[in-house]
């Protein structure tokens, strides 16, 4: 089995995979036991699996293990904890911006990707950046408030 070296949440990892086409999502969830990124569609249509790869919001369900070799991956577990959430997570909690929560990890990583590029996005920029992240419970209005809170509180 081939081995792939990359970084996950600041830690160097070496992962073996029988298939270079194995999506990063399954490596994160099953090999590295990081369950925050979720399987939603496997088609890059819903955003539930979003992680950062070299700072860029990326759909891990269509990104292969081979493609991430040598790169830096950040998952929601790498941001914060319930006790010490990072500012985006804290804002989502403050705004109670979740229902079932299945989309939440992906939403937060897309916001992270947006704020890495644009620290003071407009409402339209926020909406556009999250256009590929679906929420079936309909919490968009709360998520928008959460992101606006992060931007406001800088």
């Amino acid at each position: 089995m081939a081995a792939y070296k990359f970084q996950v949440n600041g830690r160097a990892v070496t992962v073996e995979s029988w298939d270079p086409a194995q999506p990063l999502l399954y490596v994160l969830r099953n090999t590295l036991n990081l369950h925050a990124a979720k399987f939603g569609c496997g088609l890059a249509q819903c955003g539930a699996c979003t992680v950062l790869v070299d700072g860029e919001a990326t759909r891990s369900c269509v990104t292969t293990i081979k493609q991430v070799a040598g790169r830096a991956v950040v998952t929601p577990e790498g941001l914060g904890t319930p006790e010490k959430p990072d500012p985006i997570q804290a804002a989502f909690i403050a705004e109670q911006a979740a229902q079932c929560g299945y989309c939440t990890s992906g939403m937060i990583m897309s916001v992270k990707g947006l704020l890495e590029k644009e620290s003071r996005p407009t409402t339209d920029q926020i909406k556009a950046a999250l256009a590929g992240n679906l929420c079936r419970c309909g919490t968009y209005v709360r998520i928008l408030r959460a992101v606006q809170r992060v931007v406001r509180e800088g």
């Binding site: 995979s17 029988w18 298939d19 194995q22 999506p23 399954y26 969830r29 099953n30 036991n33 990081l34 369950h35 925050a36 990124a37 979720k38 399987f39 939603g40 569609c41 496997g42 088609l43 249509q45 819903c46 539930a48 929601p76 577990e77 941001l79 914060g80 904890t81 319930p82 959430p85 997570q89 989502f92 909690i93 109670q96 911006a97 979740a98 229902q99 079932c100 929560g101 299945y102 989309c103 939440t104 990890s105 937060i108 339209d124 909406k127 556009a128 999250l130 256009a131 992240n133 679906l134 929420c135 079936r136 419970c137 309909g138 919490t139 968009y140 209005v141 709360r142 998520i143 928008l144």
Partner: protein, 775 residues
């Protein structure tokens, strides 16, 4: 019960472990209490801890206090509820209801939900009964327990019971108050644990007439306490059923038939060579692959070559409306009949009629259904996000020939299900595969499985007729709807796996309470609403959030708007004239006032603004004609060039009686509104003669972030009124308000959902042609 101590997720606690964890569990006993005044409370030391014998079974009888709550020596409490929090906030709301009666803060209450070994069966989580039944039963159990403890303390302290309060696990005189509402307890108090004896455990029955706190004394109910699950959900720590791994577990993928009801003719396993550990599981027409590695199971499911028979059992979604009208009828149902509607319409000044249609829709869960099952020794442990774990335990035992006493179903979070999505089917898949291979199995549906095979919210066809007097007021009304019949035992939704595997199961059809709200809520002399219950329906139905009520309200409230427009009357005024209940009028006026409603008839005479057409609409629902009062108003912009509708603002006034947690409730209402806008603008399950063809988010689009409107909600809290379920009711008026707003903007009435740009454009163009050359 299988135990897997190495499992990082400790959700597999057996009864024994739970009882050991809580070293002491207060048990409320009543052999004695039935003879009033001689109450005693047993200190239930787990019998296995004491004697090494079999673990003490935790009672789950919904008539017993012990089934619902355990009080620990430090005063903290564990609640056990058969209802499950599918993202709706029950976890905080039920805690608040118990906390209120027990004088505790919610953070001192743990909650166990939906585990059939530990929780009482409180019915499936559906129909917005999470609080009205689930929470209320817990609250009554808590109140029963509190009253028993107070009576015991009164004897011990020689203080009249009326002067005592239970606060934070201690009982003493309520300072400066005769009631139990005061939170301050004097120093001469006693901890609850002192009231306990270690005598044999006897069971205390829940007093269903227990003395609940007066609404003026509420301290915990009514507060916007943050949900306890949200921090973990925002930091990746929440454990979903999708995240569960057991030792020796296999990953499985199911390969559903190429066509509905197709037979499996041949399977070629050759392409699986080279995929590590991939194996085929076949039981008649049920086909699955397993592998130790999840990606291997996925690759195998794609590589496997299966040959299926041709099957073309469906009518196709293209002309579904026409097909539905001709379907065989199983039963004729009169929903309401008052006066003589036919004569009333005939004799009226003017007759009007319209047909409304709602397509087949999917629950569209963001995460495809998933379940883990471990079948062994004639029993099973099943982890699922099903909304009905207790129902599943009994029904699966029968179907799969398992000993019901050895079957345990454990709820774990999943993606929002909004009714009967694929969760129960995925669980059946997992049970069948685990039973066949003799190992724990995790079944994860793929996107095309969920969109293709979740039971669907069925289509609804609704004919409406009305007669109005010379002022345009409704004299007579008839509703005639075509909806699937309820067949077989209540809640029967035949499962895919047994059907494919040739395993007998109860037959039936259960779309939910789909005929409600088909009759208008307005005063009129003659009214008749009937349902033609169709014997079959193209796609297997189940309950989809606010079953039937969204479509029925869409039809009734849009047609009401048609009558108002024809009368040249403002839509709010027109409705008010037909309402007498102040709660109805209140929500209607508030929703209108919040959106800045101007009194005028529709359509909007000055709709044009920056190349767009602007309009506003309103709709009112008395949910199930007996529950919540809700009015929703919205403002839309229609682009006449493209037909694209943008919902700009929504206001909703919502009266569900007593509000338990206003922020959590508001979250539900906002979600209901956005989800129903999605269903109205975008959603229709497409199918051909053989299969569902809208099997991903491209084929079955839902509302996206940039489309989210500004939503303003007014919660009308009526603590003196009974609490009503609120998880879905606010869905009901949304489609109608949207349709009415589009009419206000364009003068064109849309009577079939979804309002996709191409359909809107076609309707606008047709109206323009008719205006240019009237027939």
């Amino acid at each position: 019960m299988q135990r897997h101590p190495e499992n990082p997720i400790s959700i597999e606690m057996s009864r024994r472990q739970i009882l050991k964890t809580a070293a002491l569990i207060v048990s409320f006993g009543t052999g004695a209490i039935q003879s009033e005044g001689d109450a005693q409370i047993a200190l239930a030391v787990p019998s296995d801890a004491a004697s090494g014998s079999a673990p003490a079974a935790k009672p789950v009888d919904p008539g017993l206090v012990d089934s619902f709550l355990a009080m620990h020596p430090d005063g903290s409490v564990t609640i056990y509820t058969g209802k499950v929090d599918i993202g709706t906030g029950l976890r905080i709301a039920i805690r608040q209801m118990a906390a209120e009666e027990l004088g505790l803060s919610t953070d001192r209450i743990a909650l166990v939900e939906g585990d059939t070994a530990l929780t009482p069966d409180q019915g499936s989580t559906g129909g917005s009964t999470g609080l009205t039944r689930g929470g209320l039963e817990v609250r009554k159990a808590a109140a029963t327990a509190r009253d028993v403890l107070l009576r015991l303390a009164a004897q011990r302290l020689q203080i009249p019971v009326e002067q005592l309060a239970l606060v934070n696990g201690r009982i003493g005189r309520a300072e400066g108050s005769e009631s139990k509402t005061n939170t301050r307890v004097p120093s001469k108090d006693i901890p609850v644990s002192e009231l306990l004896s270690d005598s044999a455990r006897v069971d205390l029955k829940v007093d269903f007439h227990a003395n609940l706190k007066h609404h003026l004394a509420l301290q915990v109910i009514g507060r916007p306490i943050p949900r306890p699950d949200i921090p973990a959900k925002c930091t990746g720590g929440e454990r979903y059923v999708q995240d569960l791994t057991l030792p020796n577990m296999l990953h499985a993928r199911v390969i559903r038939p190429a066509s509905i009801e197709a037979k499996l003719l041949a399977v070629d396993e050759t392409p699986l060579r080279g995929i590590p550990g991939a194996r085929v599981v076949r039981v008649e027409n049920f086909l699955a692959v397993t592998a130790k590695d999840e990606w291997a199971a996925i690759r195998a499911s794609r590589a496997l070559k299966a040959t299926w028979s041709d099957a073309a059992t469906l009518p196709g979604s293209q002309d579904l409306e026409k097909h539905v009208r001709e379907m065989p009828i199983a039963a004729e149902e009169t929903i309401v009949e008052r006066g003589d509607s036919a004569a009333g319409i005939r004799g009226a000044t003017k007759q009007m009629a319209a047909t409304y249609f709602w397509p087949c829709q999917s629950h569209g869960s963001l995460g495809p259904s998933c379940a883990v099952a471990d079948v062994r020794d004639g029993g099973a442990t099943i982890w699922t996000s099903s909304q009905g774990t207790h129902h599943m335990r009994v029904s699966f035992s029968k179907i799969f020939g398992l000993d019901v006493d050895k079957v345990r179903v454990i709820y774990l979070d999943g993606a929002g299900s909004y009714g009967g999505n694929g969760n129960d089917d995925a669980a059946a898949d997992a049970v069948l595969i685990s039973k066949t291979v003799g190992q724990p199995v995790r079944v994860q549906w793929m996107r095309h499985d969920e969109h293709g095979w979740d039971p669907k919210g069925p289509q609804q066809l609704i004919d409406l007729r009305a007669g109005v007097d010379r002022y345009g007021r409704i004299v007579a009304w008839e509703t005639e709807m075509w909806v699937p019949a309820m067949l077989g035992p209540t809640g029967t939704i035949p499962l895919l796996a047994p059907a494919e595997a040739g395993i007998a199961q109860p037959s039936g059809q259960w779309p939910g309470m789909i005929a409600q709200n088909g009759d208008p809520p307005y005063l009129m002399q003659h009214l008749k609403a009937v349902a033609h219950r169709t014997q079959t329906t193209p796609l297997r139905p189940s309950h989809l959030r606010a079953p039937g009520k969204v479509a029925n309200t869409f039809a009734v409230e849009c047609f009401t708007d048609e009558l108002a427009a024809d009368a040249g009357t403002d839509p709010v005024t027109y409705r008010e004239l037909g309402l007498s209940d102040f709660r109805a009028i209140d929500v209607l006026r508030r929703a209108a006032s919040m959106i800045g409603w101007k009194n005028r008839p529709s359509p909007n005479p000055s709709a044009k603004r920056d190349g767009l057409l602007i309009g506003r609409g309103i709709a009112y629902t008395h949910y199930k004609q007996s529950e919540n009062y809700i009015a929703t108003a919205m403002e839309v912009a229609v682009d006449p060039a493209s037909g694209k509708i943008t919902v700009q603002r929504v206001t909703c006034a919502h009266d569900c009686g007593l509000v338990v947690n206003p922020d959590s409730l508001q979250n539900q209402i906002e979600g209901s509104i956005l989800q129903t806008i999605s269903r109205t603008l975008h959603e229709e399950v497409k199918f051909d003669r053989s299969r569902v063809t809208s099997v991903d988010w491209a084929g079955y689009p839902i509302l996206r972030f940039p489309e989210a409107p500004i939503v303003t909600v007014a919660l009308i809290d009526r603590p003196e009124m009974p609490m009503l379920g609120a998880g879905e009711a606010s869905c009901a008026p949304v489609a109608a308000a949207l349709g009415n707003a589009v009419f206000d903007a364009t003068g064109v009435r849309l009577r079939a959902v979804p309002f996709t740009p191409d359909k809107v454009k076609a309707a606008l163009d047709k109206a323009a042609r008719e205006k240019a050359s009237p027939a």
